[in-house]
Amino acid sequence: MKIMLKEEFLSFVDGLIESMDVEGVKAKGKKFVFDRLGSSEELRLDYDTTILPPKKYFLPQYETIMKFDLSKQFSVKKEEDHEKRVIIGVHPYDIVAIKQMDKYFLDTHPDDLYFQKRKNTLIIGSNILNVSEKAFFGDMETGYVDSGYDLMITDLGDRVAIEIGTEAGRDLLRGYSLREASTGEIEEVKRIINDASEKAKRGLRVKPQKWHDLLEKSYNSEIWKKQAEKCLSCGTCTLVCPTCFCYDVTDEIDLTLKEGKRIRTWDGCLLRNFTEVASGEIFREKTEDRYRHRFNRKGRYLPTLLGFVACVGCGRCSSQCIPDIADPVNLMNMLAEEVSHLEEKSVSPHTETIIQSTEVEKPLYVPMPATIKNVKKLTKTEKLFEIELDNGRSLGHMPGQFVEISIPGYGEAPISVSSSPDGKRFQLIVRKMGDLTSKLHTMKEGDKVGIRGPFGNGFDLEALRGKNLIFIAGGLGLAPMRSLISYVLKNRMDFGEVTILYGCKEPCEVLLKEEIEEWEKREDIQFLKSVDRCPENEKWSGEIGVITSLIPKVKFDPKNTTAIIVGPPVMYKFVIDDLKNLGMPEENIIVSLERRMKCGVGKCGHCQINGIYVCKDGPVFNYKDIKDLPEAFT
């Protein structure tokens, strides 16, 4: 540990201000914020906590992630941020949160935008002198860190104690006079750390290692509902949280109509529309479900996924939630009263420091240019687009996977690939629904679009080989399923008996009419179709009734057949119940689920079903693996 005289430290800060962007803690009214420092005099190392955490430097509230030149057919340029930055005064609990953020954004599908900002930023931590009323980092054991910073300082009044964390930190100090700390000074720093941690104990009765079990056992507790009745659904708890990372992405076009940009901005799972998909379906519509999701994500889902409890005890959520229902200490204690015994897991808020050892080169969000090679109108609202990547390579997808298709200025949308993986071209069946798909419907052969992907888990072809298969598709569910049907029919000898059931609302909604005629003619498969109703002026040769009415009409051995089910959310429960009643084992049921898959890479948070990310872990699932997820089939 080194010691620097306070005056020397202030000139050190002023020296930094001259050479780079220095962000530090400043007063804002009676509160504190991280903000650009104009002079060392503004720096307030005696702060208790800031309104927003320093996550805003790595995941800004609004961030241009790419720019478009709309005068060209498809011209997208990734936004670079090379500014060197140092943040002074980061408390240990926020350093723990930044380490979690590193893991979240850099672990799988590393986020280059995050990485660039993070890599260009040095962190000068500061041990805590004053503790805010709601902080509980003492309970969470996050009042002290021994890594994750470049320098860690402790304000000792007329002197500043400095712990050097990295070589980059050491370089900053070059040219300033330091001396070794005395034993007394080392003790003084220890005392400051201990005092803060003691003050930041608020009587949390369930330690973070037990949150997982507590939340699992309390999933159906009445407490969620009772608390959520007071919730404003304003998103504050998520926005001010250092370990909430969910974001949304929107396109903007400027007044010249020649340029535009794609913007990433903070989103929050407490907001009502967070899970809304283009068709208007909201998957977590009840306030209590959203309220419960937030705590489960912190105490259960992220610990399982990444090995840390995503709460660092900063107390920002509790102090800024005006109905006062966001406090994890209160909530955990309340839940604990209903549960007698709790198992421990070896997780805590702490996680390893990975930033120094990470390199990220590939851009995660920049779409590949691609060309529409053919457009075919299927129904009034659906078209089939045949697309080829401009780099000449094939998409390399598995049946069941999806891509993010993008049009500059109109956004991005997840669309399942409808064709089997052969040749350079791939097909997407797209319903005209939102801005992007409406624009896509106006596009013609030769027009350019952007493609990211393929993403997600497709159908496990190896596992299906040799099996008897029954496909059950409802409405637009035929689109993703068709990639597998085509594959199976092209490799018919590799599979056992094949049955296809297809249902939609009315005859005019039937997709792929010519192909369906082929299926009807084939003698090596069973095919049945139905519509919910047939208006008098329309012709229909199939059955009338809901899709489940087709199941008893075909011959198959439920015990030795694998079912593949894709359809609107409401369909799954009924079809699955019928199959189970016929004796089909749960592990023989495969589904593909729809959710709001905004980023495609498990980061933005919108597609989460309890602890799983549909974009990454799905969209294709074995029913057995997700049947116990309360949010999967609602």
């Binding site: 009676k30 609004y62 404003l232 929107t250 007044l255 929050g268 005006i322 409406s438």
Partner: protein, 255 residues
Amino acid sequence: MKTKVAFFDFGGCEGCQLQIANLEEDVLELIDIVKIVSFREIMKEHSDDYDIAVIEGSIMRPMDEERLKKIRKNAKILIALGACACLGGVQRMINQWPVEESKETVYGNSEKIKDNPYFDNFHTKAVDEVVKVDAYVPGCPIDRNEFVRILIAIIQGKKPPLPDYPLCVECKKKENICLFEEGKLCLGPITRAGCNAICPSYGSECEGCRGFISHPEERAYKEVLEKYSISVEELLHKKSIFNYRYIEKKRDKNE
């Protein structure tokens, strides 16, 4: 061919149109992408040949209704501009009293205004209570950048963007101190975001000029007010400034 846009004012202060006139150099870019055929504040010419009609102000009289219906017939797309057009504006507060009573209070027992169509007021209405509205640009005054965003979206064939989450989201992103903590009654938790929390950013509580979100958590909000010892009367008063429409709707539902 450029999209032709016409601006019309009804019962209001014309401040929202002024916001657009105040786009300054951006106006030049605006007239690069659309053709403005009628805009009283910036030009003398007028034409009834337009694609987009932008309506400012609330509807106060039978003659307004007639005029508005004619405009609707001429326009392919109709935009309601500002709190008056979207909600009825502050003048909607007058709907608390019978029309005749209000008239007497304002004009006295004057014979002069009798049978004068200009004074033939009924209870204040928002534009969509008379004709179909395709896009809303809320606010008092409007945020001119939002107007531009919505106009561009319409030209591009996109759904006019309008956030449906509470103002708190933008206020938090701006790192403002919550005004409830200062003992103020802020309508932010139930008000539609999109203004970038401009009033709270300057220390003034939100008065709800953008209208409420589609699913405000009313019950939770009332509990918060209780917690901060704010009376129901105070809340009603604040709500009636811009959202008397909302109070009327609730009252009608209860009746």
